[in-house]
Amino acid sequence: MQTYKHCLIVLCVTLVMGSLTKAHAIPAFSREHNTECATCHTIFPELNEYGDVFLKNGFVWAKQKKDDKGGNGGAKPEIRGEGDPALLAKLKESSALPNGSKGEMPTMGGATPKSEPLWLAGLPQTVPLSLSGTLNASYNDDAPYDKLDLSTRALSLLSGGVIRDKLGFFVKYNLFAEGAFNPALSNTPINSDSPYAKDLEEFYLVWRNTFGTPVNFKVGRFRPQLSLWKKTNKTGISDLVTTSYRVGSSKFTSDSPEDAIEANAVLFNRLYLAAGVVDRNGQDTNEGYGHISLKIGGSDFHAREPELDLDNESIFDYMYLVVGAYGYSGRNSGDLASNERNNFYRTGVDLDFMVKSLRLKLAWAKGQDKNPDFASHVRRMTDAYVAEADYMLTPDLLALFRYEYHESGDGPVIKRYIPAISYAPIQNTKVTCEYQHVTTDGAHSNLALLGIRVAF
């Protein structure tokens, strides 16, 4: 039992170390589009419906259909002259923003006139860089030492944008990510243990609407599209067990960044499909994944609002449901030279239900590892469940409660009860307080976390 307790402490600390290094709100997008964080986030970095569309659409605002009428009754700038009509149309579109033809227009707060030379060069209008940092404090009454730990967890360089609406890009480079605390080494460990410390965590390109089709191709290092919620798409501190659990010595998790190629597309406005192949170092077999999700109610995956009757009240107008399913099949080993391979798969189903200010997230994941310790060839099956309820108390204050269940092979059954509250007094600054009550085969432990995250 004592061993389990120690394991649990280590697990919790690792969980905190890992989760608190992730900060993915991208102020670079806010600068480029001159808009606030709340356009895409509930409390950052959790995405709202429109942030999800922006991500799916390769960092471009969803356009209206061609047959939709243009602004002010469909009157668009008349295009005259020789040259490339498409290019000219784009330039007219850019110059149609204020400070152009409207002589009396004061300086803009809402929109920024586009620089033609920058646009022609394919460059973003602003330098697409931002920083994100995390500080935190944790209290673990069961810890053998350092029960109260105040630490500077992470600093990341983030970049993202799109070139001429065709090529999206995203970068996350960890400048610093604090590793596990070891009093024998230092009170301020530097990049000592985090898997992505001082490293390129994500860098990918998205070729949008390839050859005029709805298909986007994504290439580079990124987290494969499996669960509905990317690792950073959350308001609490800890990660969901359904996507973050590990088995034996295998370092694989469903939300690990991979070097991969992915094709994804929105079909019929409400169906999202993604499939990809992964190439990890030393890999000698096919490895890939697939995802499908369907949205019912709310705005569609092009951010088009539903047709509502403004004269009649209906609770259904405030609801939406997204159902997603995924699968991943792969093989890994302890080191490149080893012949001891672990064939594994992961599969899962997620539900995201929203009604007014209440959001419910349900997730189920199942996995199998045939040789997770790279030696014994003992197969382990894993089941994990998550049920979470988020309630937005005010636009800057959100409370949540999560229950997690995790059972892996002959290992202990771990249950977590996690209440948390997240407050963003300024949209780019968030304070989160999270409490974890954990039972491991009947043994109890508790952990309190306080995290401050800022992005600028």
Binding site: E36, K69, G71, N72, A111, R304, L310, T394
Partner: protein, 122 residues
Amino acid sequence: MRLTKMMVLLILMAFAATPAVAKIKVVGKGDKMNFDASQIPSDLKGAYEIMKVKCIQCHTMERTVIAIQTGIAPVTGQPFDKQATKAYGIKMLRKPKSNMSRDEVKQVVNLMNYLIDESAKP
């Protein structure tokens, strides 16, 4: 004499027929920018008051003014027409904690449509 009377009458009619407002004026600059309240018709004053209070919970009125004057939504660069006003109204209605009722959204959408029409006048 008859001709003089006719001319006087015509001059008086010309003064009386002066257009009320060709275009809604904008007052203030930056985050203080807003439509000139004195030019909003009386039947839309209530909607104007709602817009003035509710919309600025999340963004300045400047954004609305720019969208209506240019016909382009400042953030997305997409057309801001009567179809868009309803879509934005629905978006704000569904937005958690937007604190806008259906009736308020309807009134504000009507006001924005009126302002779009006014803005389109030469």
